[in-house]
Every structure is written in structure tokens, then in C-alpha cells.
């Protein structure tokens, strides 16, 4: 059942132009997903210094420790509520938590994208999803190229 919470709705409210900032975040998570598929979850360690949000840095470590599902969700929600975020910062934090949970579940990047575009709202989600799917083959090709260079170096 879909639950409704007035406080949640209030916190999530933000301007349309602010929502555009979600797309780079989704791309980043899809790239992290591809990376864990090719190099394993411990490779996330090198992504932590570049994490521009403490919630993302903390979450990546928890995912590396093997936490997932309800426990991961509870812990990340506690971190999220320990700070006073409203509007765009709150929406961004929700996308980060959803992305981390999808990463921990070892979701396929296409499934992950579908979970994350929902934060755009029904009117824009499909359009953004189409854009991401057009980019996906190029991103896959880039990952494959990186993998073959790495394999050659190892050989």
C-alpha cells in the first residue's frame, strides 16, 4: 500500500529546475553499479574521497560492509533525519539513499534507473528514462573498453 505523509511531501517539494540536478546523480549511480559489476564492491573504496555528500560517503562504506535491505534503509534514514534538510537537499538525499539501496541489492543498471527516475515525478520520469537509456549503450561500451585496457595491463 502506498503510504502518505504530509511532512515527507513538504520536505520533498522543490522547484522544477532544481529537479534537473537529479539526472547527474542517477548517471553517477549507474556508473557505480557498472563499476561494482566489473571490479567488485570493494572497488567503491576509491569512490569515497570524491563523494560530495557525507551521506553518500557513509552509505558507500555500509554497502561495502554488506549491509542491504531494511537494515541499510533504517540506518541511512536515521542519518538523513539527523540533519535538517528540506527541499532540493532533501530530495537529493532521498535519491542518494535509494541509489545506495539499489546498489546494495545488486540491481541491474536498468532497474536502478527506473527506481531513481521516480523522484522526478510521473510527468517527467519517462522522458528522463528515455534519455538515460539512449546513453546506456555508450556507457557500457566505455566500461568494456576500460575493462579490456585493464586486462591488457594485467596480462
Amino acid at each position: 500500500m502506498i503510504q502518505w505523509n504530509a511532512e515527507l511531501a513538504r520536505r520533498l517539494a522543490c522547484r522544477e529546475e532544481e529537479k534537473r540536478g537529479i539526472a547527474p546523480l542517477i548517471r553517477r549511480f549507474m556508473e557505480l553499479d557498472r563499476r561494482t559489476r566489473s571490479e567488485g564492491f570493494q572497488a567503491l573504496e576509491s569512490e569515497i574521497p570524491a563523494a560530495d555528500d557525507p551521506l553518500l560517503a557513509v552509505g558507500l562504506r555500509l554497502v561495502m560492509e554488506g549491509l542491504s535491505g531494511e537494515i541499510l534503509e533504517d540506518i541511512l534514514a536515521t542519518y538523513l533525519l539527523a540533519e535538517e534538510r528540506t527541499g532540493w537537499p532533501f530530495l537529493r538525499a532521498c535519491v542518494i539513499v535509494e541509489g545506495l539501496m539499489s546498489l546494495a541489492e545488486a540491481d541491474d543498471p536498468a532497474i536502478m534507473a527506473r527506481k531513481l527516475v521516480a523522484y522526478y515525478g510521473a510527468d517527467r520520469a519517462l522522458g528522463v528514462l528515455e534519455e538515460l537509456e539512449k546513453e546506456a549503450p555508450m556507457a557500457r561500451a566505455a566500461t568494456t573498453a576500460k575493462e579490456s585496457v585493464r586486462a591488457q595491463e594485467e596480462a
Binding site: 502506498i2 503510504q3 502518505w4 505523509n5 511532512e7 515527507l8 520536505r11 559489476r37 566489473s38 571490479e39 567488485g40 564492491f41 570493494q42 557525507p54 551521506l55 560517503a57 557513509v58 562504506r61 555500509l62 561495502m64 560492509e65 554488506g66 549491509l67 542491504s68 535491505g69 537494515i71 534503509e73 533504517d74 540506518i75 541511512l76 534514514a77 536515521t78 542519518y79 538523513l80 533525519l81 539527523a82 540533519e83 535538517e84 532521498c94 539513499v97 535509494e98 539501496m101 546494495a104 541489492e105 545488486a106 541491474d108
Partner: protein, 366 residues
């Protein structure tokens, strides 16, 4: 995520601001709860009762009494609700109650103490994450090794070994299964299987997974472990059907018996000086892999002639090595044969026959 936040009561949406000093004090309370949780896993209710008598903080003392008395999650919440009313005007007291409830609720749910610590310190904010990591790593150093084993008959150790041929496959499978199922399947596997899975979760996650697997040995029946293992087998098959993982065949795992026999004979025929020199020139990793292609008698011969330092280096590399495909073992064997040939030629003590056999080993093909 949204559903989890949507179910939160309004009171939980308020972030609580307290001083650094208060947060440090709350961290100490969290550490005490973690320590009690650790003892409660082995001593059960007695540890809770003893801890409640020694505890000075009122909410924690009351909570421990309730747990020792057999309260469930609802009883715990109800039992501490009086204190919640009294704490309404004191942010520090509210945060202490939230943290205490999170920890004690986790003990009730049978969560690992390290997970509890992560759960509790999340209330203090991201700035306490590293402090928590340091605390947990220090606890790891004092951890007692598990000596209990329970191997449930079946092909799970072989399946894990086969998945580990490419650690990405094993990782994908255990993450897709989730931590609880992974701990349950490992509860019925030998230590070798655990050693393959643990590094995928890092130091803290690996240690807690091992503890959980050990604990489940006492809690789950053989049938329950078998059921978890069967579910994991189904999951692996579905991942394979979807092309997400590729399983190695039995053939990939089994090293060529002729190669093993020949390598073992040569190692036994070589003199000490040649072995020492060749092993000094070869990396620990290559030796560890190559030694998977020899019989134990050859291992004894090698370790018997090496210095203590070299022996330690090689044993460490063996501990860190995963099972490998026969081609990888043959390649490492070939690399070691090159070094043995060079050392044998320099010493001039090996027979022509031994040299010829080393050359065959160097160029070995299945």
C-alpha cells in the same frame, strides 16, 4: 525509501541538536550496548541482567531490565514511554532514548553487535561514522576465532568454490541473496567457503558475517540450512540463465593429475640450494598458485628447506589465494619451472633427466 519515511511519526522528523560533549557521552553508551550485545550472544539473558545491575544511565538500565525479563519490541517501547514523556523538553535525553531503543531493539532482533553499533551511532550524524569504524576495528582485534564447524552434506562448498573462480560471480550471488541468507548457507559450509566469501565484505562486514554464520549453527536445524542452501542454488541458476554470472565447469576446477604428479616428482628430486634460489626469485603470489598444482608432500619439502622468513611469506600468500582455474595454476607452475631451470643450470647439481622434465613442465599443455 519513501515508504520507510512515510511510515515515520511526526516526532521522528525533528532533528535533534546537542553539544559535541553530549554526543561523545552518547557514543560511550552505544559502545556499552554493543559490548552487552556481544556478551548476550554467548551468555544470553544472564549478560543482560548483569549489565542492567551495573548500568548507571536510567533509560539503558530500565531497557536492559525489560529485555532480561523477556520483553518483546512492543514491551520495550511501552516500558520506556514514561521516560519519553519526561524527556520531551530535553534534546539530549530524547536522543539518548532514541539511541538506546535502536540498540536494544537490535539486540531483540538478533542483529550482529557491529550492525547495532552502526545503527545506534547513525543518530549522532555522519561525523561519528569514522569514530565508529575505528571502534569496530579495535573490537575486531580482540575477537575470538571460531572453532566450531558444521558441514551440511551437499554441493554448496563446490558451488562456492566454482563461483569464486571469478570473485565477481561470487560477490554478485551473495549480494543478490542478501546477508542473512548468505550467513545461513555458510553456517553449513567448511571454513574454506567462509574464507572465500569474507573478503567480499571488507574487514568489519566479513567478521560480522563469520560471527553470524557461527551463531546460526546453533540456532538453525540442518534442514533449515539445507533449505537456505537450496534457495541459494536456485538463485545462482537464475543469475546464470540471465547471463549475469558464468559458472566454471568441474573441468576448470580440477588441475590435471598428470601435471600434479610430475610437478611433485620434480620438487622431490631437486636439491635444497636450487629450490631456495628459485623460490627467492619468484613472487609469493605465483608460488602460492603454483603450489595448488602439487601434492602435500611437495609442500612439505618446499617449506622444509626455506628460511623462516620465506616460509612465512609463502604461507601468507597461500592464505590470501583463491581457488583458481587449472589454466592459471598451470601458468604459475610454468613460471616457477622457468626459475627452477635457471637455478638448476647455475648450480649444476641436477641431472639431465631432471632438467628435461623441468623443460617439459615449463612447456606443459593439457
Amino acid at each position: 525509501m519513501i515508504s520507510s519515511l512515510a511510515s515515520l511519526p511526526l516526532a521522528r522528523w525533528t532533528s535533534i541538536k546537542v553539544s559535541r560533549q553530549k554526543k561523545d557521552a552518547l557514543f560511550e553508551i552505544a559502545a556499552r550496548i554493543e559490548s552487552v550485545a556481544e556478551r548476550a550472544r554467548s551468555e544470553s539473558g544472564r549478560a543482560l541482567s548483569l549489565a542492567s545491575k551495573a548500568e548507571r544511565r536510567k533509560p539503558l538500565r530500565r531497557g536492559l531490565e525489560l529485555l532480561a525479563g523477556g520483553a518483546d519490541a512492543e514491551g520495550l517501547e511501552r516500558g520506556l514511554s514514561e521516560m519519553r514523556l519526561a524527556a520531551e523538553s530535553d534534546p539530549g535525553a530524547i536522543l539518548e532514548l532514541r539511541l538506546t531503543l535502536a540498540g536494544l531493539g537490535g539486540i531483540l532482533a538478533g542483529e550482529h553487535p557491529y550492525v547495532l553499533m552502526r545503527r545506534m551511532t547513525a543518530h549522532l550524524g555522519a561525523e561519528y561514522f569514522e569514530k565508529t569504524s575505528k571502534y569496530l576495528l579495535s573490537r575486531l582485534k580482540r575477537r575470538r576465532p571460531h572453532t566450531d564447524t558444521l558441514v551440511v552434506p551437499g554441493d554448496m562448498p563446490d558451488l562456492i568454490r566454482s563461483l569464486a573462480l571469478d570473485p565477481r560471480n561470487l560477490e554478485r550471488a551473495v549480494h543478490a541473496a542478501g546477508r542473512d541468507i548468505s550467513a545461513a548457507i555458510l553456517a553449513g559450509c567448511p571454513q574454506e567457503s567462509l574464507n572465500l566469501v569474507k573478503p567480499l565484505y571488507g574487514k568489519i562486514g566479513g567478521a560480522s558475517l563469520e560471527d553470524d554464520a557461527s551463531q546460526l549453527r546453533g540456532r538453525l536445524s540442518g534442514d533449515e540450512i539445507s533449505q537456505a542452501q537450496a534457495a541459494f542454488g536456485d538463485l545462482v541458476r537464475s543469475l546464470e540463465e540471465r547471463g549475469e554470472i558464468v559458472l566454471g565447469s568441474e573441468d576448470d576446477l580440477a588441475t590435471d593429475p598428470a601435471f600434479i604428479a610430475e610437478f611433485t616428482r620434480i620438487v622431490l628430486a631437486l636439491d635444497e640450494r636450487t629450490i631456495k634460489e628459485a623460490f627467492r626469485q619468484t613472487s609469493g603470489g605465483v608460488i602460492a598458485v603454483a603450489m595448488q598444482g602439487m601434492q602435500p608432500v611437495a609442500h612439505e619439502r618446499i617449506l622444509g628447506v626455506l628460511s623462516k622468513r620465506d616460509e612465512r611469506r609463502i604461507l601468507d600468500a597461500i592464505d590470501d589465494s583463491n581457488p583458481l582455474q587449472r589454466t592459471a595454476i598451470r601458468a604459475a607452475g610454468s613460471e616457477l619451472a622457468v626459475q627452477l631451470l635457471a637455478a638448476a643450470s647455475r648450480s649444476g647439481t641436477s641431472s639431465k633427466e631432471t632438467i628435461a622434465r623441468l623443460e617439459r613442465l615449463r612447456d606443459w599443455e593439457d
